[in-house]
């Protein structure tokens, strides 16, 4: 896949010396990270390394205790108005889909646009259908999530986030809960999304995806960013020993 070379260098996410603790446990240590508009970043690392926590801090699902996070020029603090603004600009896709089981696929997609963005119902539904078409499941619109396969559910979840017309998309291990034959359909959707120039932060172990799409790959361990590099260098000559060990473990099985 051809990489998108003409990206603006406008930073959309700036994280500076950010720390986070769960009780006494220091999960994130001195994280500094900048993401430019249109950049695609893949975060990998062993389980428990804090990568999920990191991206959850970006839309304040987790509250960081020290340092700054600035998203779209708005600083994340306890201010509720700012939070609302950030959350409608940042979409998130979860490992376990988290679709609302009591609503149809269409209702899942229109709920937030109608109530948070205050779109008229008709407009919201049109937008939702358009995005469902984009993730290739418009025919499932009136079904309930429980009636869909895992891959389909995850694609609905992506469409649901896109309905808020976000500027940034966060993916938290979007394929880990899926059967192998469904991983591809989700990854394809994500690749298509990447081609539209969306800013994406993806926590995943799918190294194929990283090689294909990512502008840069981050390796985390024990709450620290160990290494950040473009995919070619990251996979071919990792600098850090821990990165080498990690790559040898996940690539050689």
């Amino acid at each position: 896949m051809k990489k998108n070379k003409n990206k603006s260098l406008k930073p959309v996410i700036q994280i500076k010396e950010m720390h986070k603790w769960f009780g006494n446990f220091h999960v994130l240590k001195n994280i500094t990270l900048g993401v430019n508009q249109g950049e695609r970043i893949v975060i990998c690392g062993p389980s428990g390394s804090g990568k999920s926590t990191l991206i959850r801090c970006i839309n304040r699902l987790e509250v960081h205790q020290k340092g700054d996070i600035i998203v779209n020029n708005v600083e994340l603090t306890g201010d509720l108005k700012n939070l609302e603004a950030i959350r409608s600009d940042v979409g998130m896709v979860f490992q376990s889909f988290n679709l609302f089981p009591h609503l149809t696929v269409l209702e899942n997609c229109t709920l937030a646009p109608i109530w948070v963005k205050k779109l008229p119902k008709k407009e919201a539904e049109e937008l939702a259908m358009e995005l469902l078409t984009r993730v290739k499941i418009p025919e499932q619109a009136l079904k309930y999530p429980g009636q869909l396969s895992g891959g389909q559910q995850q694609r609905v979840a992506i469409a649901r986030s896109l309905c808020m017309q976000p500027k940034i998309m966060l993916f938290d291990e979007p394929t880990s809960a899926l059967d192998p034959e469904m991983i591809k359909e989700v990854l394809d959707t994500m690749i298509e999304l990447a081609q539209t120039g969306m800013t994406m932060l993806v926590v995943t172990h799918e190294m194929g995806f990283a090689k294909k799409v990512a502008d840069s790959v981050i390796f985390m361990d024990e709450g620290e960013i160990i290494e950040q590099n473009d995919p070619k260098n990251f996979f071919n000559n990792p600098k850090n020993d821990r990165t080498k060990l990690f790559l040898s473990q996940i690539l050689n099985h």
């Binding site: 959350r87 979409g91 429980g146």
Partner: protein, 369 residues
């Protein structure tokens, strides 16, 4: 030995071994599978025989269904004297509601099923239209029962009694306690310490004291807490207490429902930028209430049974009507018949409700897959 090539489907279906299917097989498996099992069966049969023999004789064969008085009953036969019921069945059902106006109660209760149907059976056809009726029903029922409007004769609370009173207390109690229970459940799950503490205190207090003491409060002390001159009818005061009492239990049921919702649901809603009330309205409550319906029905059954306690503060529910009947010279001494009749009424209605709750639970289980 000639080699046989196996082809799928070529082996014939054989009948099962004898004695494992059919009536005989069923009896053998379920009643006489071992020595201890067989003896249990025999004991049960003997027990049942004596029970049924005694009961049928007293209940039906030797019973008297109509007579002038207890003495007249005893002259006819020595079984149960159901005349105390048949002669006063109107009182047992309607209390002292004027006879000419009883059709109003009949209509109210018949339409009640129509009003509840869309809430209790989600798959009912034309649900939406019925829901409008349900919303309108409380006013309809209130006007019809109380009167005073549209040329209907006004009826005083003190004439209410019998099963009608039971149903009114139960239904009003549960309908009023649902919103309060929901608020309490949300309060108990709230991050705000003050709100949480208040909800916990209220819930634990109501669940900690016997209902009878709350009814005493309703009957004797509630007025002290209101501005001088305020005067509620005892019926309203009792309904208030029932509401508080069952709201505490319903809050706990709904809290269970809320806790059963996976954390991911809230995270997804957060990520979409919803605020607390939007999350509560669109995500938490629809899911929590659906899970809690069987629990709510069970709470209702409990409340419905507890309405008998109002007899202690002098209201004439079926039990009170029964006791008033026993105070009548003619029927004195027929307590077993009276109590059994009331017990039977409660059994039939509560059993029906618990079957409904069971059906719903199974349905929810299959829905979830």
């Amino acid at each position: 030995m000639s080699e046989k090539i196996y082809k799928p489907g070529s082996y014939p279906d054989l009948p099962p071994p004898p004695g494992t299917v059919g009536l005989y097989g069923w009896i053998r498996q379920n009643l006489f599978s071992s020595i201890s099992n067989s003896s249990l069966t025999i004991i049960s049969v003997v027990l049942l025989y004596y029970l049924i023999d005694g009961i049928i004789g007293w209940f039906f064969l030797n019973a008297v269904f109509d007579a002038e008085s207890k003495i007249a009953c005893r002259k006819i036969d020595d079984g149960a004297c159901w005349a105390v019921i048949t002669r006063r069945v109107g009182q047992f059902v309607y209390g002292f509601y004027p006879e000419a106006e009883r059709w109003r109660i009949d209509i109210t209760f018949l339409t009640m099923f129509l009003a509840f149907a869309p809430l209790l059976y989600p798959d009912i056809p034309k649900r939406k239209w019925l829901l409008y009726f349900s919303a309108f029903y409380p006013f309809f029922a209130f006007v019809l029962i109380m009167g005073g409007y549209f040329g209907l004769q006004k009826i005083e609370y003190s004439l209410f009694g019998g099963f009608m009173l039971t149903v009114i207390l139960g239904v009003c109690g549960i309908v009023c306690s649902l919103p309060l229970g929901i608020l309490l459940a949300l309060g108990r799950q709230s991050n705000l310490t003050v709100v949480k503490t208040l909800s916990v205190c209220f819930i634990e207090f109501m669940r900690g004291v016997p209902l009878i003491t709350l009814l005493f409060v309703a009957s004797s002390m509630l007025n002290y807490f209101l501005p001088p001159g305020t005067n509620f009818s005892i019926l309203v005061r009792v309904i208030i207490m029932f509401t508080f009492f069952s709201a505490a239990y319903i809050a706990e049921v709904i809290r269970g429902g809320i806790q059963a919702i996976p954390k991911g649901q809230y995270e997804a809603a957060d990520a979409l930028g919803m605020n607390y009330w939007q999350k509560t309205r669109f995500i938490t409550l629809p899911q929590a209430l659906k899970i809690s319906i069987p629990g709510i029905v069970n709470t209702f059954i409990g409340l419905y049974k507890d309405t008998t306690l109002v007899v202690v503060i002098g209201l004439l529910d079926p039990l009170g009507i029964g006791r008033a009947a026993l105070a009548d010279t003619k029927w004195n001494g027929l307590s077993t018949e009276t109590y059994l009749f009331v017990a039977l009424f409660f059994f039939v209605s509560c059993f029906a409700m618990s079957r409904y709750s069971l059906w719903l639970e199974n349905k929810l289980n299959t829905d979830k897959k």
